[in-house]
Amino acid sequence: MRSLTHLDRLEAESIHILRETVAEADKPVMLYSIGKDSAVMLHLAKKAFFPSPLPFPLLHVDTTWKFRDMYALRDKVAADPAIQLIVYKNPEAESKGINPFDHGPIHTDMWKTEGLKQALDTYGFDAAFGGARRDEEKSRAKERVFSFRDRNHRWDPKRQRPELWSLYNVRKAKGESIRVFPLSNWTELDVWQYILKEKIEIVPLYFAAERPTVERDGLLLMIDDERFPMNGETAVMRKVRFRTLGCYPLSGAVESEAATVEEIVAEMLLTKTSERQGRAIDRDGGGASMEKKKQEGYF
């Protein structure tokens, strides 16, 4: 008899979660951030509902500052007739021209946190899939798979619903919503192994290539378009890749030779810094930063 590997089990659990949400929520949506975790989540959803088209739309909360390669992959994914993509941009952030260079933390707050809340409220989505994993960060380790949010999208870590077996409570009152994390029990290595096994397409920025960069505040930043203000610096071509992708002026690159998934895995396993470290967002506010952001409604 065939016995299931840990990847088989993770896949089966994620598919169960995706189906349970679709069966019980009124209007689900999948947060699609274009990164590798989103790619895996989307792939699992296609498997879960095959041969039906995706029974929910993808939502990209755009900040207008993503890498060009990310927009290219997003548009390619959306070209599939079985997939409906909604792109939402916070109109206030757009009209005020909020950007990571001039506005600091307000950039993430307005485009991402506020943008997400607005998008969910505008379309009336009552369940939103996110690609977060429990191994990413300490407060995530304690969050439920089905994470209840009040009318103001707030997470209350002290009042989480007990989650037993694979029985998920999807009930909520009007205006309340649930964030659903199908990849809760995956680790970063699981994600990479699955990408390799299932041949999932990811943004080329994950692979090392010669890219124009400058070093600023200890981060290697890529000059992805002409909006990048040069403070008397000159761009240097470096062979770099990205371990996490977000707004390009906030995403630190690492120098690397890894050009295949296998090489990325090898490099990742032999390096000594954790994944979220390249992301500027977790650092402000000390150790409890992500927990605080989540209480305020950050995904």
């Binding site: 008899m1 299931l4 095959f50 007990p162 077996w165 409570n169 150790g287």
Partner: protein, 640 residues
């Protein structure tokens, strides 16, 4: 994220492909760790993560600085800080919720549910144990087996864990003394025998120093058993037992992209499935065969317990979410009354008789829990008499569901528990909170043997003879809102039109049928349930039934609504503001309630939950009683 074991590093450098191929074959073991506050549980888990290189250097730096600020180990690294996630916990220095951790060995990937040891958090331990194959019980070598150790063993066993590790921790503090370890083992053995734990091993460890955690320690040459990790690497998994049982697949979602495809999606709870398999659809009992097991990358010849699949069937049988596809020759039963163990998880205590949502597999039903037969004292395992169950209480009670559900007894001697069709949660209908979990024992015989008597004169015949459409017109509102007055007028107007009616009035019913009931929340629920049953019988007899009860709780009105045929329940909200009702105070009750002479008075010290979508809404500040009655009659006559 995980870094590899030291031994793997070389292979990764040389041939990452070969290393990845090895990783793909890894199995998954889920376990929980439980112990008292000071047993060093977080330290032990922190040690497992640290030694299996699950910690990056930047996290280690943060850990070192945190250790100096919040740590309890002086200048040494406090591994507990690695796993204590939320800031509230850091301040209190304790773990307050279930957290999940990940690490791996050369053979297995592990998911650890880290659960707290406090008495008030039984809920979290049961939650963590529900998905685990094994429990690691921590015992402080200096303190031995404590009440908490026994409680945790009992709780873990209650949710079906069959394999235990007694990790006797802090051996460094008893000079690695074998006698101390042996005494603890003997003590635990007696307890394990008493509650029927057959499979357990004891391992002497030091989480702080790492002895016998990853590999065997030189400090305890007298110990010849495996290290903790060696044991976790080789202990049998429940998955094998699940696959050997008969097929059960709860249907989660019906996949219907077009007229030509109808697939049934679900996760296989037990057994195996493949094309040609004879299956029975429960609860209908229809027999058919599996046609195909469909996936995005082609059809499967074979799928096993644990997999999420989509199957098509050979015949066009009725099958929807909540049904169960089962082995044709060995199907599960369906029933609507059970005995069950219930773990209460909410601050608000159980209300016997109230309807709760019950979720079991993909089935959602309304369930009523009877007054518990007994509550279990988790420290002494004594059975205590109980009226109800409060937060973290465990009891045994009978449960009735509003329709038959497909189920299996949760615990079965000698094999893995039937989690998918034996475990359930209860959800409060008003707050949507998960208030309890439970494990079904068996169906009650009366539910299996009492069949309804078939009646030759049907309810349709009764209605036809009377030339009317039966109804239950349910007036709800505050005391003194005008329910009885309006209901009386409605009955007079209907009688004038030759309609057959009957008015059930709250005060009158309490003098007879319900004179044994008081005004506690539980009694008020029973009051409404009985009135609902009587109203249903009268509607079956073809009458238009009018009822006038405060009926303050939405859940009970909903319960009554569900007893009636579609369209026969007409809820009339007699909407009078509290201030207005209190001003009228026809019976002088508000004055008494304000004076504290009447307890549990609706609107004063007991809530009134207004209807959200009543069929008829009467604003008594706008309409006279007579106008209101006309409105109700007009609506009733317009029903088709």
């Amino acid at each position: 994220m995980s870094r590899p074991l030291q031994s793997d590093e070389e292979l990764i450098r040389r041939d990452v492909r070969a290393w990845l191929a090895e990783q793909e074959a890894k199995e998954l073991l889920r376990f929980i760790t439980c112990g008292s506050v000071d047993d060093g549980k977080s330290t032990l888990i922190g040690r497992l993560l640290y030694e299996s290189k699950q910690i990056f250097d930047d996290q280690l730096e943060a850990l070192e600085s945190d250790s100096k600020r919040h740590g309890t180990q002086g200048q040494r690294i406090d591994f507990a800080l690695l796993v204590d996630g939320l800031s509230a916990e850091r301040e209190q220095g304790i773990t307050i919720d279930v957290a999940y951790r990940f690490f791996s060995s050369a053979r297995r990937k592990f998911i650890v549910a880290d659960t707290p040891g406090h008495e008030q958090y039984t809920r979290n331990m049961v939650t963590g144990a529900s998905t685990a194959d094994l429990a690691v019980l921590l015992v402080d070598a200096r303190k031995g087996v404590l009440t908490q150790t026994r409680r945790h063993s009992y709780l873990a066993q209650l949710v079906g864990i069959r394999r235990f590790v007694l990790a006797v921790n802090k051996m460094d503090l008893v000079d690695y003394d074998q006698a101390a370890f042996d005494a603890i083992c003997a003590d635990y053995r007696a307890f394990a025998e008493k509650i029927g734990i057959a499979e357990w091993v004891a391992i002497p460890v030091s989480g702080l120093n790492g002895d016998n955690v990853m590999s065997r320690s030189d400090a305890m040459a007298w110990y010849s058993g495996p290290s903790l990790l060696e044991h976790l690497d080789t202990v049998p998994l429940d998955a094998a037992a699940d696959a050997a049982k008969p097929l059960r697949m709860p249907v989660q979602w019906v996949n219907r992209p077009n007229q030509n495809f109808r697939g049934f999606a679900g996760q296989i709870a037990s057994g195996t499935i493949g094309p040609g398999a004879e299956v029975r659809i429960l609860p209908s009992g229809r027999l058919t065969r599996v046609d195909k097991v469909v996936t995005m990358t082609g059809e499967l010849e074979h799928a096993v317990a644990g997999e999420s699949v989509t199957v098509t069937l050979a015949d066009e049988v009725d099958c929807s979410r909540g049904d169960v596809i089962a082995a044709a020759g060995d199907p599960p039963e369906a029933a609507d009354q059970f005995e069950a163990t219930i773990v209460w998880m909410a601050d608000e205590e159980l209300l016997p008789g109230r309807g709760y949502w019950m979720k079991i597999g993909a089935q959602n039903v309304t369930a009523m829990v009877q007054q518990p037969k007994f509550e279990i004292n988790v420290n002494t395992l004594e059975h205590l008499a109980a009226q109800t169950l409060g937060l973290n209480a465990i009891g045994v009670a009978e449960i009735a569901t509003d329709r038959e559900i497909v189920f299996e007894p949760y615990a079965v001697e000698g094999t893995s528990p039937n989690k998918a069709l034996g475990g359930f949660i209860l959800i409060d209908k008003l707050t949507n909170a998960t208030v309890a979990c439970g494990m079904l024992h068996f169906a009650l015989r009366r539910s299996l043997n009492v069949h309804r008597q078939h009646l030759d004169v049907s309810r349709e015949t009764h209605a036809t003879i009377k030339g009317q459409k039966p109804a239950v017109v349910w007036f709800t509102g505050l005391s003194g809102a005008g329910k009885s007055t309006i209901a009386n007028l409605v009955e007079k107007k209907l009688a004038a039109r030759g309609r057959h009616t009957f008015l059930l009035d709250g005060d009158n019913v309490r003098h007879g049928l319900n004179r044994d009931l008081g005004f506690t929340e539980a009694d008020r629920i029973e009051n409404i349930r009985r009135v609902g049953e009587v109203a249903r019988l009268m509607a079956d007899a073809g009458l238009i039934v009018l009822t006038a009860f405060i009926s303050p709780f939405r859940a009970e009105r909903h319960m009554v609504r569900r007893m009636m045929a579609e369209g026969e329940f007409v809820e009339v909200f007699v909407d009078t503001p509290l201030a207005e009702a209190e001003k009228r105070d026809v019976k002088g009750l508000y004055a008494k309630a304000r004076a504290g002479e009447l307890k549990n008075f609706t609107g004063i010290d007991s809530p009134y939950e207004a209807p959200e979508s009543a069929e008829i809404h009467i604003d008594t500040t706008q309409l006279s009683a007579d106008e209101a009655a006309d409105l109700v009659v007009e609506r009733l006559m317009a029903r088709r």
